[in-house]
Subunit: 371 residues, 4 copies
Amino acid sequence: MRRLRMGLIGGGPGAFIGPVHRIAAELDREIELVAGVFSSDPDRSRQAGDAYRIDPRRAYPDIETMLAREATRDDPIDFVTIASPNHHHLPAARLALEAGIAVISDKPATATLDEARALAQIVRQAGRPYGLTYTYCGYPLIREARARIAAGSLGVVRKVVVEYAQGWLATAVEGKQSAWRGDPAQAGVGGAIADIGVHAFHLAEFVTGSRVTRLLADLASVVPGRVLDDDCQLLLRFDNGARGALLASQIMTGERNSLRLRVYGETGALDWSQETPNSLTWRHGDGRTEILQTGDASLGDDARRATRTPGGHPEGYLEAFANLYRDFARQLRGEPGGLLPGIEDGLRGMALIDLAVTASREDAGWIDFEV
Amino acid sequence: MRRLRMGLIGGGPGAFIGPVHRIAAELDREIELVAGVFSSDPDRSRQAGDAYRIDPRRAYPDIETMLAREATRDDPIDFVTIASPNHHHLPAARLALEAGIAVISDKPATATLDEARALAQIVRQAGRPYGLTYTYCGYPLIREARARIAAGSLGVVRKVVVEYAQGWLATAVEGKQSAWRGDPAQAGVGGAIADIGVHAFHLAEFVTGSRVTRLLADLASVVPGRVLDDDCQLLLRFDNGARGALLASQIMTGERNSLRLRVYGETGALDWSQETPNSLTWRHGDGRTEILQTGDASLGDDARRATRTPGGHPEGYLEAFANLYRDFARQLRGEPGGLLPGIEDGLRGMALIDLAVTASREDAGWIDFEV
Amino acid sequence: MRRLRMGLIGGGPGAFIGPVHRIAAELDREIELVAGVFSSDPDRSRQAGDAYRIDPRRAYPDIETMLAREATRDDPIDFVTIASPNHHHLPAARLALEAGIAVISDKPATATLDEARALAQIVRQAGRPYGLTYTYCGYPLIREARARIAAGSLGVVRKVVVEYAQGWLATAVEGKQSAWRGDPAQAGVGGAIADIGVHAFHLAEFVTGSRVTRLLADLASVVPGRVLDDDCQLLLRFDNGARGALLASQIMTGERNSLRLRVYGETGALDWSQETPNSLTWRHGDGRTEILQTGDASLGDDARRATRTPGGHPEGYLEAFANLYRDFARQLRGEPGGLLPGIEDGLRGMALIDLAVTASREDAGWIDFEV
Amino acid sequence: MRRLRMGLIGGGPGAFIGPVHRIAAELDREIELVAGVFSSDPDRSRQAGDAYRIDPRRAYPDIETMLAREATRDDPIDFVTIASPNHHHLPAARLALEAGIAVISDKPATATLDEARALAQIVRQAGRPYGLTYTYCGYPLIREARARIAAGSLGVVRKVVVEYAQGWLATAVEGKQSAWRGDPAQAGVGGAIADIGVHAFHLAEFVTGSRVTRLLADLASVVPGRVLDDDCQLLLRFDNGARGALLASQIMTGERNSLRLRVYGETGALDWSQETPNSLTWRHGDGRTEILQTGDASLGDDARRATRTPGGHPEGYLEAFANLYRDFARQLRGEPGGLLPGIEDGLRGMALIDLAVTASREDAGWIDFEV
């Protein structure tokens, strides 16, 4: 069984998420990076290709060239990874899918909700796999939480609290990472809501298996001079009647990447924090508190399949990310059972951004969540 | 310097908070329980008096009798503690204050906002000390947090997240503690918002030194059959421009008494949890994280005065409560400097309950916080 | 049922442990401080009496006077608390017991093993209660741990690791607390081993229900100029075959009062830390991890009786200490069932000090633990 | 710059550590697995080769064949990884080194101290890189700890406590992992001391920069029927005068992979636990407590170079392991600055095993640590 061949869009010098995609994709040796458009600047793209140690001829200046040249090879790429800023997502995905090449894309799906709708159409027509890397649903204990809730371990879910706290934008920082995220032309209408809010939102829906049906939003740009939101407070209703709150902020000074999800059901509750991802607190209605840990024999198939080492050997962000690529590889090989988000999740994320921004601007109170 | 003499209203058989008041009051030997109306049932009041080991003649059948008889003694009570259900607070306080006796009362101040306004009038006229036991502001590290914020250690405060999570009402429990809290005739218009929401609210204002000016509320009665709210989600604005969220719930299954306050300023942030009260996380804007601990030499006067043992000897809920009584004793002796909440804090708490219930019922969006 | 009357020896200006005894004794209102010899300096004793707000006539200049005068009263003291430095323990206890007055003493029992043997003889002859405040066995979850092990929840205990880490003597500090502890004439032959090692030792035996039968000791005076040990490493064997290690140090820089006990049995393990005393980790042999918390409904009678507030209201050091006084009061009233250590535990503690110092000096390897 | 080519010895079906080496080696794309002897059974070796997706012709039946055939290729292996049981380490390393092929080996270096001495001789003569994967020294915060201590941040180191607690051998388990570890013919003279004790020992020396000069050992086989030690308690002396304790056990029921290192100096202390590897507690002599986190801007070069993602994105065991391969690749390319342990560390580890077993058997008291 050969390794699947990956073409990376983005991930050039100074990038954070591109190299992460590369590591994640290759971690299980099911996938190999062989080509890429690492920068819109051809020289930088070539340099990055060298740094990735790929065949210099496969470091392309643009996506069209990559798709055309790869199509002529015996060993062409099997899929592209899109890891460039949001406004590139739609055009890049369109080119690939229309060329019959599968796509896995960083989140959010696109820069705007309209784009997402267009992309959804394209994906449906293309009939090729499309995956979206909401990273945090790759963690073993998140998958365990999802499985337990689906199995009824908490009873009916009543309350969901999810928060994603960062502090790196508490001041007006300069740099590649903040520049494009703060620019509506590249990032779209959402700031923190698009960068991290969608993660929190997806995680809540992924784990509970319920869908948000209404929301109330309170977004703000706290740091002077910032155009897009950097602090978000949302209240939620789910289709099963559950209530919820979502906090996402990039001005919570000193916080690193503090994503925490709590789900409270009638008979139990789960509590997970991304910065200590290998333990999951399970509070029982009868007062008992259990700590589940990655690698525990009591965990189910989804968690076990997402774990590479025995308990006590901490796995982290890169391994969670790799679990999404493992799911994607399975999809590409036509195997069932993966948990990788797809375009429907992408659409919901874009709707969240759009609705939250709209609702917040108009002080609109509760609004329906419609995609 | 003699010990001050306390008359306890409430605290009879099965009570939780009455005995806590007794322990807290006496902890520093500045106060002594000498009399009480421990139950509205005279027999039970006598029995409770015996259990407290007080002079049987000073276990009274009702407040009027206590005030009258004590007034005839050489060693009369110096103050009363009100630790009975909410609807007793106003009449009890009125009787005492009008008899010239100082009052310290459990929260919330009264059962309704109108009662609180009446009480405020009485307190102002009486000119006697009136204290309110928002327990959690008695913790040393909460006082340290307050002092640091006042001193500008965090820069301008921008974001406040406070939550108070309990799970004991996740099912329809029976019992003395839940019975009166769930009965509007005894508890007033608020359920969780009155029982624990006011604590969270007061703590946020106490520590930040800012006042809430607007709020948006989302209260619900989640458990079938319950009349009053058991789950509250509020969004807040403060007078300095800060944004905030307040969660208070008694249906967060498995949670015990999980009160957590986080305050984010421009240049730093503080994070404190009541269940591990002896450490306070201080995140600096430059990325450093410090853990302050009760008893640390670096702490200020307020924290030091509120601590009885060296660092590493955990102090808890009873000691925090005792710090409020220490403040109250100081007030009774005419000394300055205490941090005990008073009737103004009581009024604000009652306004919170009233506004939150009203705003939530009408899906009213943002409303002004006015007392 | 009247309150028992306490006479305090020690606890004058600058003292740490005397006021702790007072608070602990009075916390449950079963005991009242009425008299004392608070200092060997009569003036300071009187001043301290005023600070404690006791009758000035009952602040005595010396123990003999206290015992004589109290014996003439209608309401004499029921017992004395000895909270003065180690070398006072034997003479003070002797005077009281020979006067028919019960004694509760701070640890260690005496300054030397010979003194402890003499005291044991006196206690046996006096037939009056004698209690020893190994504080940490008063914590509810320590009592729970003991009960679970006794009930076989861990299977046969195989391994015990107990450590008591402090850092306050990492430099050559000045002050009342360090002065007497560092002076062999007042403290006896042991430094850290006598001040904190005996706590760790007692806790290990108390919780496991097993007795140390052999030990190997490695003590040192790390800080230049210090006469007594400040760092102790011991290896242990227990009478049931279990192996163990005990670390006690006052030069572990930055540590406050970090006492931790871990007990590993065939089928489970318990892990408790004094600085977060309200949770107890229970690791099961099948891989499950449970967190027990003070106030949990699943806890047994011993823990429940040692708890004053519902779960989530942290109790700490003073409450643990008060549990010992509650046990003592029960003993004084002739009631069964307390868990307060007595002279036999005192003798074992003194033997530990003596053996550890001796064994360490001579590089003696393993030696038998004999009292 | 091409990728270095790796030949893996071990890592066949059911293996734990072989796949870990593969992931770690390839994580940074500087190395590629191209060949291997994955099992001593040729069929199983071929199957494993397929699972690794390497060229089937490069899944060899034995080391001799691999070395011979690879030597005839244009693209031969650059090094071998030895990940088979201990008794294979010496013969495998000898064959490779004598063929001029660099070696990176799992720990311990060999099965016996004599073998280690022989290997040291071979390494010196071969003049090829030899690395040893004491995994835990690959963690960023361990490297930070080492750098800070070297820079004097703690003052003179006085006390080191290192422990490695596992519980998976608390009962007599069956299986590939326990079988060879419990068999002296494959594992050598040490059980837990060889499997995990050497890790703890190396970590202590690596971080402190000091060398153990004397030790006292107390090893036992606690589980009936076990030949080799499963529980180890050691006391240590270091060349700078520091004192220490080392606990390593595989019968600490319920523990997973609990490796913790604490180093106490005159003016500060560091505390790190492998199961939460992304934070490092730094206790200052003045009472301040800081939490350093992977990715913090305040960390030094060694930590930064060992980190792939921004703070708050947890990295774990595989990334730590990969850091050792990154160091090894640097060595192979003739670059300076790596921190990968070599044969001298291997010799010290084997001496530890040998001395600990010997010292423990004879109840020998303190013995000199001599390699």
